[in-house]
């Protein structure tokens, strides 16, 4: 490979962005004229339809999800260092917490492979303000303190933040982030008493103690919020350019990047969904607001709240979804890969109301019992075909 190849790319980019001077333009023409291959490449890359095609291809990638997987790997070293620090300074506590790591042990613990089709469970990774990363799946309860004095407590499957209001001194806002991996879920109690249930493959960034006139958090993925009432300080959930504003209420926000939509479902109270400069939408209980990025409107529809929030109560409530949508949904919770031997089965609709903590096999059997499809589970792979 030659440096020249990269230069040609910048040339093409300049051409497409309309930025070439007349001399540069002429030089580009000369380059194209030197060989038929050059000309063909220019025609292929620099036509308008090509950029559209590449953008459409690019939209299919799961960038955020992939970054999380990479981050998981590259933060491992750091995690060990943090544990070392714990081991050195708070050894007795560390023993009590049951997370003692032998200092200097560089060998990574082997990741536990989940059994085929086994359900998810309480799993999360906490990113603290100083860059420390704490895996909440593999340690028992503990307490930590953020640098602004906020107490963080971890119980079996819940993380809670408490701020003693004694110190009246305003301090800089400190943020934490909780990432939930595939097959994980976690409950979080924020410093104002708001409870957040985070679903698999989701991430929440939040201040460890709320300050100012607004309680604001950022979400990727899906979460159910029980907002502590505080009429003086609205609670705001940000999802990209959309925001959901509430005073005190319970609602569900689903915003998985690969769904390409933000859905807010109101259980009780009142919320307002706002997107950039669009007319805000106010929801009544049992209503759902749907925003599809790129569309210039927010749609409101009546829904069954129980179905939308079933995941939080440990159930899957699936009603008449196409198989492909069901399996995309289940694959966030179960570690499975899905293949369709016959494309036609993808659109067949199914429904079920099942325990989310059961294994996947019984769910697949339910689908099979309809007599419409055949499902084979081999290891972590599910293959669907026509009966």
């Amino acid at each position: 490979m030659q440096q020249q190849d990269f230069d040609i790319a910048s040339w093409f980019a300049g051409y497409l962005a309309g930025n070439l001077t007349s001399e540069q333009h002429k030089a580009l023409e000369e380059w194209c004229a030197t060989s038929a291959d050059n000309q063909a490449l220019f025609d292929k890359v620099c036509c308008g339809g090509n950029i559209r095609r590449l953008s459409t291809m690019a939209d299919r990638y799961h960038r955020q999800e992939r970054w999380w997987r990479i981050e998981e790997k590259i933060n491992r070293k750091k995690k060990i260092r943090w544990y070392k620090w714990v081991a050195v300074f708070v050894v007795p506590l560390a023993i009590a917490w049951g997370l003692l790591e032998i200092p200097g042990r560089e060998k990574e613990p082997e990741p536990v492979l989940s059994e085929a089709g086994a359900p998810g469970g309480a799993k999360a990774v906490l990113h603290m303000a100083d860059g420390a990363v704490v895996d909440l799946a593999d340690c028992a309860g503990f307490s930590l303190k953020e640098k602004d004095g906020t107490q963080i407590r971890k119980d079996s499957a819940c993380l809670s933040y408490r701020r003693d209001t004694l110190s009246g001194e305003p301090v800089a806002v400190v943020y934490n982030r909780l990432d939930i991996p595939r097959g994980g879920e976690y409950a979080l109690k924020l410093s104002d008493g708001t409870v957040v249930y985070l679903n698999a493959l989701s991430s929440l960034r939040f201040p460890v103690a709320f300050q100012g006139e607004c309680r604001e958090v950022e979400l990727i993925g899906e979460a159910y919020f029980q907002v502590a009432k505080d009429t003086a300080r609205p609670f705001v959930v940000r999802v990209g350019e959309a925001q959901v504003r509430v005073l005190g209420t319970a609602f569900n926000v689903s915003a998985y990047p690969d769904d390409r939509m933000v859905k807010t479902t109101l259980e009780s109270g009142s919320v307002e969904m706002k997107v950039a400069d669009l007319e805000p939408v106010r929801l009544h209980p049992c209503q759902q607001a749907v925003f599809v990025p790129g569309n210039r409107r927010i749609d409101v529809q009546q829904v069954d709240v129980a179905a939308e929030t079933a995941w939080k109560n440990g159930m899957f409530d699936i009603r008449n979804w196409p198989l492909v949508k069901i399996m995309d949904y289940l694959a966030r919770w179960y570690e499975i890969e899905v293949f369709y031997r016959d494309e036609s089965v993808k659109e067949i609709k199914f429904g079920c109301y099942v325990n989310r903590y059961s294994e996947i096999q019984p769910i697949l059997e339910l689908f099979e019992q309809t007599g419409k499809i055949r499902a084979e589970l081999k290891g972590k792979t599910v293959v669907f075909s026509t009966k």
Partner: protein, 179 residues
Amino acid sequence: MVGDIRIDIEDPGTVKSLFDDFYVPLCLFAEHYVEDPQVAEDIVQECFIRLWQQKRVFENRYRLRAFLYTSVRNSALNEIERQKVVFAFKGKESGKAEKSFFRDHLIEAETYRILMSAIDNLPAQTRKVMLLALEGNDNKEIADQLDIAVGTVHSLKKIAYKRLREELREYFYLILLFL
């Protein structure tokens, strides 16, 4: 030498900024080989993890880019070998054909990357206009899609071109040398 900035892969922040810049173009590039978006994503993900694990130092940006594309290509070729799938281009055995396949798709992916990284820095509305323009829409079509006046499209495009010129200056410097 131009672009002569040493790049140390020493903190996760560097990996993140490279990921933001190169993830999509590398996936596009890999997909030409493996013809499956998920496999392409797997390959690129592994490439970034390797980049981190090997803690390499690159003398300049070309070396880094060359490493990324070569490493993705090698993984893609291994994957194809492993799957024994029918390869997209004919004459795979002849080194020359693979070389030009590699070059052509590298240039395509890099063109896309440079354009998108320049466009990403534009203000929201201007960016939308430019994306639609690059996708081959004329001013009238852009105005209709964004629900704004044709005159506005025209002036936003003017601003965009000016900004893009500044964004692309680094690259044009290279072009001038090359000419």
